[in-house]
């Protein structure tokens, strides 16, 4: 008798934000490879389609282009989810990584960063946990945090605040929803090669870039390194795992 691997996502529908590039796109591709039907959310319609093309045609995947930085956009997400329910998993990879000196940080900047990095996930998870949208077999929610939820960096206080918020969020929600078989976990990557990290200050400074490289004993990561952790957390292999923060960082935090 053929036995499905516990790491398989066959038969699952997974919603992924930030799917038009970087870690989000890598998660979409990795989930599709494991047999999932992918629902991709992102700002850029063309790049979302590229993501779906990379996901292959074994499943009928879906895409919705919208700006999650706009809190009003959530109504469109509800309609989209109702069309594709039941949903078995969620990956929140949408995010911005602002570098702003603390003394010149503005309310508009922290409102934008929190809306995209944190509150859009909150809004979507409120929809996903509704009867009629969630899978009756339970769900797995995976929020992409950062090693900056654990260690600091000059100019990254706003980013660190948003990513730390996600860690707090998964812990309380893990308890609140355990009896409904809905699991919440975070992944904290360090620097991976992505459009977001390409914009970092150190990319224009050879000495600073070398310092970042030296901080990663296994070198910089790829989006797929994070995506494979997400696949585990979305799969039945992690059925006993909730409220955790999985560090995937090439050894960055080891020292």
């Amino acid at each position: 008798m053929h036995q499905t691997s516990p790491f398989s996502l066959t038969g699952k529908t997974i919603l992924i934000t930030g799917a038009s590039s970087g870690i989000g796109r890598a998660c979409a591709v990795a989930c599709a490879k494991q047999g999932a039907r992918v629902l991709a959310l992102g700002r850029d319609r063309e790049r979302l389609q590229e993501t779906l093309d990379l996901c292959g045609s074994d499943q009928v995947h879906g895409a919705l282009s919208l700006d999650l930085g706009d809190g009003e956009a959530i109504g469109e997400v509800l309609i989209f989810l109702k069309e594709h329910a039941p949903i078995h998993g969620f990956v929140h990879a949408a995010g911005v990584s602002p570098t702003i000196p603390f003394k010149v940080m503005k309310p508009k900047q922290w409102e934008e960063a929190f809306q995209l990095n944190v509150f859009s996930a909150v809004q979507i998870m409120q929809l996903l946990t509704k009867v009629g949208i969630k899978s009756a077999d339970g769900m797995s929610m995976v929020l992409i945090s950062s090693v900056m939820s654990e260690v600091g960096e000059k100019g990254k206080s706003l980013y660190a605040m948003t990513k730390s918020a996600l860690i707090g969020l998964v812990k309380s929600l893990a308890l609140e929803y355990a009896d409904k078989q809905i699991r919440f976990n975070a992944i904290s990557p360090s620097v991976v090669n992505s459009p977001l990290s390409e914009k970092s200050l150190y990319r224009n400074n050879e000495a600073a870039l070398q310092q970042v490289l030296d901080q990663h004993p296994l070198g910089l990561g790829e989006g797929s390194d994070v995506a494979h952790a997400a696949v585990y957390l979305l799969s039945n292999a992690s059925r006993w795992v909730t409220g955790t923060n999985m560090v995937v960082d090439g050894g960055y935090l080891a020292r």
């Binding site: 702003i100 000196p101 010149v104 000059k154 100019g155 200050l201």
Partner: protein
């Protein structure tokens, strides 16, 4: 305006032990780094309403040249 500009430089770069001079090559200050550069750009925008990009800063050596750039941007 010159004094307001010099006060902004002191504040943005957190210079506490001396008075910046117009002929100073400010990027040679110990206080100058990638973060103070971002602070300076944000403060110039806040207090003078001008956008000086990091690319424009690359070609600027002295505080006088920076002030000239600010005045030019103000029109």
């Amino acid at each position: 305006m010159d004094q307001k500009f010099l006060d902004l430089i002191k504040e943005a770069l957190e210079i506490e032990d001396r008075e910046p001079q117009m002929e100073d090559a400010f990027k040679e200050y110990n206080e100058w780094d990638s973060l103070s550069q971002l602070t300076l750009i944000a403060e110039l925008d806040d207090q003078f309403g001008v956008t000086v990009t990091s690319d424009e800063l690359k070609g600027i050596i002295t505080l006088q040249e920076l002030l000239d750039q600010v005045k030019k941007a103000q029109g």
